[in-house]
Symmetry: C2
Subunit: 352 residues, 2 copies
Amino acid sequence: MRIQDVAKLADVSTATVSRALATPERVSPEARARVLEAIAKTGYVPNPAARSLRSQKTYMVLVVLPDLSNTFFSKILRGIEERLFEAGYGMIISDLDGSPEKEAHFAAFTAAGRVDGAILLNGHLFGQTREGEGMPAKIGIPLVALCEAIPSADIPQIEIDNRAAANRMTQHLASSGHRRIAYLSGPAGNVLEKERFLGYRDGLKAAGLPFDPALVLPGDYTIESGVKAGQDLVARSTRPTAVFCTSDEMAIGLMRTLLSAGLKVPEDISVAGFDDIEFAAVAEPALTTIHQPRRELGQMAAAVLIDLLQGRPSPKRIRLETELIIRDSVASPQNIEKAPAKSTRTRAIKPT
Amino acid sequence: MRIQDVAKLADVSTATVSRALATPERVSPEARARVLEAIAKTGYVPNPAARSLRSQKTYMVLVVLPDLSNTFFSKILRGIEERLFEAGYGMIISDLDGSPEKEAHFAAFTAAGRVDGAILLNGHLFGQTREGEGMPAKIGIPLVALCEAIPSADIPQIEIDNRAAANRMTQHLASSGHRRIAYLSGPAGNVLEKERFLGYRDGLKAAGLPFDPALVLPGDYTIESGVKAGQDLVARSTRPTAVFCTSDEMAIGLMRTLLSAGLKVPEDISVAGFDDIEFAAVAEPALTTIHQPRRELGQMAAAVLIDLLQGRPSPKRIRLETELIIRDSVASPQNIEKAPAKSTRTRAIKPT
């Protein structure tokens, strides 16, 4: 795809396309909009060599989020911003919200040198799918992947060991006596989901438990998908005794639905989460979960990007430690295979 | 304060100070840091007339937050970002985190023309206190205040009617039969806190209830301050029958502490919140609260700023509607003046 194709589609000169990318303030808003739309449609990627003619630094970093309204990101953003600020960089936010137009815009924005570097939390490079298909956009500036690793990309990856953490939680549930442990998944195709699912399978295997596809519930990390999974469980005649939810938001939504239906947590059904967001400790019951060091993840990604921007070497992969946080939402199963009963919140000491 | 003072303190030429503000990429990081530090110390504000010599637009908007890690802002930021994006503007985040150095930096950044406009969620202009004391920085670009109004500033204010909403909730608690209604406050000096406290007083008055200073508990809108207020209440021999928490985060923290101490919500004590964050509906019990249209507030602030940036007239004050959301955390008092009893979750229909 050439600049001529973009110009033709946008009904402007090639010079206008170049200007819209390099010095957008010299192009009318209407022409800019047409050029960006054409770039989005054609998948055109500006030549980074041409871009590098501009030597000016912007002291700005782009942070690409899949969903800015997800509270999981708040502490991560604070960690990124504080470290960038210390080094004299500002933070521009791109909230993709599933929009290909927005993604094309920010790819062009980045390639045009409007920022010095970018931190990607969306699990893929500009121009590629999550599966690594398609040609990555030639961005020409340092990139770092945070939380959602991009295994196919040769850029630093800052993450946790999602598989090991999910394995640990699954084994924790098994060691509490659970034999039918359900798994509430993240969105299909998400690398976090893939790794956590492998960890769940690892944990079942280590505990000598069979994998049952009927115990895998679809989710997407939101409260709403937790509520929905709860409705599914409530309607079942035979229920799992524990549910491993791969986000705290889903766990809190699921508990809400179970409690509303008269089921007790953890007496009738144990619930575990993932992330340790602020609301996990104050949920009722307080949520057993995996602690992610969110602020530190943000700080680390910013620090690695700053190293790259300032010409220092950086490690290719950094994994921060997680922690199993045991609170009140998991107990030994007391009513295996029975209908919900009015049990008291006394814990059985020995798993059955 | 003159540019000469800044130059002297930073040990650079006045030309370097000008460059550090107008074209920071032409100054070494070390010199930039010294200049910004000197600006922070001296309170120097660049001359907007000099700045306007640069006619280039940046198509960037600064969003100034008091605390990026507060989940309340997530949906507001999404609303701002989506509306800015539609109009071709990017969003730069400044997370003040109580730091005067950061504030001085972003004042200089803004005055230097690095952004076209700014949305202030921090309750004061650059260079002023929350009380409107001090000279506001001469920023020279359009500003909009969002959520926390800045009454002394002649800029558009996008907000809700905090006083009316707090009045409504207080009267709702009174009409449920409560006579001793505690108030869990926001941070001292915050304009939201001032308005909500006035609304609480209005509501007590309208219900014919006396104001009791012993029922005002200090808070700062965080979960932690809700937990702390809960510990205070648990330790009291005579407790209020209802607590109006001026943020949902505080209400959720407070409920956690009450429940852990063996008190039942709402049977022993009713709890109400403010904001209607995502976790309010799935709290246990589900939280009665005031709904704030957060995404719409963000969209509206961005739309008003875009009007200003594009030379269109804008209203000076916009108040979006709130809603009283009745869920399960408020009921009629059943055990007034008595120690907590094991009551069932049956609601009394008539207030006593």
